[in-house]
Symmetry: D2
Subunit: 346 residues, 4 copies
Amino acid sequence: MLIIMRHDAEPAEIERVCAVIEEMGYQSRPMPGRQRTTVGLVGNDGRVDGSRLAALPGVAEILHVTKPYKQVSREWRAEATVVELPGGLRIGGEEVVVMAGPCSVESEEQIIAAARAVRAAGATILRAGAFKPRSSPYSFQGLGRRGLDLLVKARNETGLLIVTEAMDAEGLELVADAADIIQLGARNMQNYSLLKQAGRQKKPVLLKRGLSATIQELLLSAEYILAEGNPNVILCERGVRGFDSTTRNLFDLSAIPVVKGLSHLPIIADPSHGTGHRDMVTPMARAAVAAGADGLLIEVHPQPDRALSDGAQSLYPDQFARLMIEARQIAEAIGRRIALPVEAVA
Amino acid sequence: MLIIMRHDAEPAEIERVCAVIEEMGYQSRPMPGRQRTTVGLVGNDGRVDGSRLAALPGVAEILHVTKPYKQVSREWRAEATVVELPGGLRIGGEEVVVMAGPCSVESEEQIIAAARAVRAAGATILRAGAFKPRSSPYSFQGLGRRGLDLLVKARNETGLLIVTEAMDAEGLELVADAADIIQLGARNMQNYSLLKQAGRQKKPVLLKRGLSATIQELLLSAEYILAEGNPNVILCERGVRGFDSTTRNLFDLSAIPVVKGLSHLPIIADPSHGTGHRDMVTPMARAAVAAGADGLLIEVHPQPDRALSDGAQSLYPDQFARLMIEARQIAEAIGRRIALPVEAVA
Amino acid sequence: MLIIMRHDAEPAEIERVCAVIEEMGYQSRPMPGRQRTTVGLVGNDGRVDGSRLAALPGVAEILHVTKPYKQVSREWRAEATVVELPGGLRIGGEEVVVMAGPCSVESEEQIIAAARAVRAAGATILRAGAFKPRSSPYSFQGLGRRGLDLLVKARNETGLLIVTEAMDAEGLELVADAADIIQLGARNMQNYSLLKQAGRQKKPVLLKRGLSATIQELLLSAEYILAEGNPNVILCERGVRGFDSTTRNLFDLSAIPVVKGLSHLPIIADPSHGTGHRDMVTPMARAAVAAGADGLLIEVHPQPDRALSDGAQSLYPDQFARLMIEARQIAEAIGRRIALPVEAVA
Amino acid sequence: MLIIMRHDAEPAEIERVCAVIEEMGYQSRPMPGRQRTTVGLVGNDGRVDGSRLAALPGVAEILHVTKPYKQVSREWRAEATVVELPGGLRIGGEEVVVMAGPCSVESEEQIIAAARAVRAAGATILRAGAFKPRSSPYSFQGLGRRGLDLLVKARNETGLLIVTEAMDAEGLELVADAADIIQLGARNMQNYSLLKQAGRQKKPVLLKRGLSATIQELLLSAEYILAEGNPNVILCERGVRGFDSTTRNLFDLSAIPVVKGLSHLPIIADPSHGTGHRDMVTPMARAAVAAGADGLLIEVHPQPDRALSDGAQSLYPDQFARLMIEARQIAEAIGRRIALPVEAVA
């Protein structure tokens, strides 16, 4: 940590900064420059709260040299985390894993039809919400427990693994029992109680980036889960808040290489929420694979114009099948491949 | 709701849109223009989910004419909500209510000193966190239950009312028992499980705007609380995510008149989190009163340079006292006044 | 255009809105709904300024049904614009055109070395700035006219076409004489005097999206150029202002499919400015091709650590060569190909 | 400037960084920490371009300790700049100066009526555009030279000073001849050719903050003007691009105290463009005075519902008169006063 002093800081002010640093248990290294003095705080392990120093007279600014996260950092663990799933599916290795399905579980007929369609096109994990976070209290809120039962049924019928969202403590226990991956949604990315609970159980966690979360905040939220003992975290870019309402969100694909540089955790992309428009899902899904994403999360509905939620951004099954063909070629162009269905692997 | 058709939409596509509208239980009103046809959906009560229509062929765009919130809307209830607190304090009326205190409860000595200082300057409600949402798992997380006990002690000693944050289901029960107002923080603004729980108990709720929440999303989150039966919601502007790191957040003071126009709920301002710098708190607190805020939420610490959190944005007690003098004059300039301590009222 | 009335609007207020519409020369179509009346303005050609109507009593909101741009709109001209360049190079057709080179022309040696390197790897157009817009008056401002001379020399030596930026009226004339494509930079996207001048000359224009420009604003700026008579506009996504300083800008790749849907103009991508970090340029350049960009604009410097500007985001020549190989394969995966050097075409 | 090395940087990489720093003419000061080495670059005067260093292997990040601007900085000149205008009016001192008038000059009758109305309420400077930057080429573009003539007529009739916008080199000469203050608009904040020209003439310049400009970028643009010899720059906050379309822009009032802390230049506020809605102009104008603005720029139109531009955000004359009364009291509450008309001063 570096404490930048004002150019007109008094010597006594600089001494006080040094004294407070020593009092906090670290060493201080004043470095006088031509215009101003900078004081280095050394001997820390990256977890210093600088607000006390920022409040001292004569201090212009605090600069953080060390990132506040540790266990998720690639600087401290160079080797990529590979999340192992039942049947031998792996996320974070050479393969690109495709998760697809409708926004919500709506009925047995719908979820089975969706599962079969995405399975036929080559997806290996089924996505669909049983508990739905909706901005309006008057929108469809999901089928709840019954939705989870239907997902289990779909897994039994198709062999697809299941990822689905948990919104609170009670739901997280239910989802952890039923699903193969627990999704924590964008709106809960900084719900620290939920993050801690997810860190204390065994299932892998898919953590979606919050709507205005910086990459550092995303990594700190993942750090909460690792700090509680669960190393199996998959990050997900799903669009951030932008200023242009032409798209539902601003799909920040650069997050893929940024996260790859800073962390060893796998990261996938959700172009359906990232764009909000069916016509943009295919090009942006292709782009995500080209950018190096470890997986895709895509909304596919057997009948988008009858969907109870997110109809406008759901692909038709045949659009999804075409996308899978292009995605395979793009993965190969960069030396990867799309993961095959579990049975084929086993 | 209006469905804008593409200029080259086929008559059959327009008919299908009308048919789906009728199937949904509403009436359709096609309106051919010189360039394109617009179809009105009428007979709805503002709660239509348009995604099914957006997915139909030939549709260019969906425009919402009616806002998706209802109970919080000023269009439907013109009279301002006034939240009544113990001892006769009222938020949302003519008076401007000042809530002040440290970021966190740190010790008995600290919270009592802070309470006395803000009481002496004219605050009527004590703010301080017992449960702290921190972006890093390694930052100080608050004293928890013991923090609540110390807040109760401070109330007994000073007569100040208490507002403090709840972060999860268990914490909300504890805070509802101890505090006069339950704060739901910015990171939990769309934690719908927590909003519903807050709506099912009796204490007033201070709902902070999320870091990238639109005003409509803030009002929809308040709608969740009202929809469960609790009408006593106080909104709070505390800064949104901006692109300029000179300030911690971008303090969106325009939210005050915007909310006043759209909703009957009271709204207060938090210039401490809104700016993140002590030097900016006083001018922006004055500005908030001038803009019409129903209250202020301000961080004051007896010794900011020893604070365990948010030291850099906490006022010194004497700065707060000067601010209160200016705030009183500004309130008078616009025909309001700063609320007096409860005893004086009784 | 639709005028949404407040739910409590008086009949006289609705009548006045209709009267003003008629006075403006259009027809009004009031449409009473269950909650409020909407008044349609019909008979317009998309160029109505609604501010006068927005100011009338009883009006809640104005909704624009017709986009304010026309000549650039795909709704009005479905066929893609293909910009024809000397030697048969075409932008906007099946081929993906790669423009590469250093940020600035620094010396004859540097620009010739850069031109040869990007030519060898397969680029067809040389990019480099002679006039440099820099946020600080103390940064290197470019070589000016001498820079243009050196670019012409590089074209003569390598056969590459030239794209370079003009910043003002005088510079635009010089650039139009020397270059094959005139670049208008992000900071000048709404410099309307410059846009009009660019529209009155004959060379194709590369118009970069402003740092916080919506897609509609970008298209309106292009409309300025077309309205003056120059149909050869190439749009360019180069990153928008974001809230996360991890990257220099937020590279909005979704702009590619959005623009393809709304306009017939070609659009290319600049991943160098879009990200600001060398390590991210390659993945995001690949992603841009996968998303459907009609070209790439990439900074390549023979010696990035000696660059006078933008060294940190410039590729080394061998990195660029590897990128070209991957880009070719990705283009093929989506049925396109990278444009070959002009001579090979001829 | 500080160069943060990666924690696994090789000694040779650190040595190379030091060598490059020395080669650039500065001194290097390596500071090994527990986790990584930081290299200080000292002996510079704040104008170092760090991109060359950022490109070296082993470098994690560059941190700027010294701000890139100088002449506008309060650190280097503590005393406030006070801009002196004809008749003794001063901007940047104790008085708060009110500039008001219509968005555009539309006709002699309109501008004289507007001038008389704002004069009667207490404004001292007349604002109105002769050259109008409009996002659409089909919107009203202003009366041009004739507009300037009408402004001069209004000054002769009322004694008000004049501020009006220049959009290009030719217009700037005309405006400099006719007006008392030259306005450079938000879209031209980084039009460096225009900034330099404004710096080479004598009239004071009102520089509006760009739609997504950081405070540092705003100050750097002002630095361009000062660097050319014109010290009389007045900054203006007019709203930045936000994510919520409820308001036209996001009015960033915090910019007032931020600029006051960083620079000695005066700063005024434009709540009309800052909000875009008439109902919000009055509360936000009051807030701007309370926040410490040195002036207000407000749109007032004799007949807003007949305005050719910005009708929806223009105050009626009687609303403006009421605002002036409140503004006077708020100015007094913070120890300032609203500037009186020039004649009264003389």
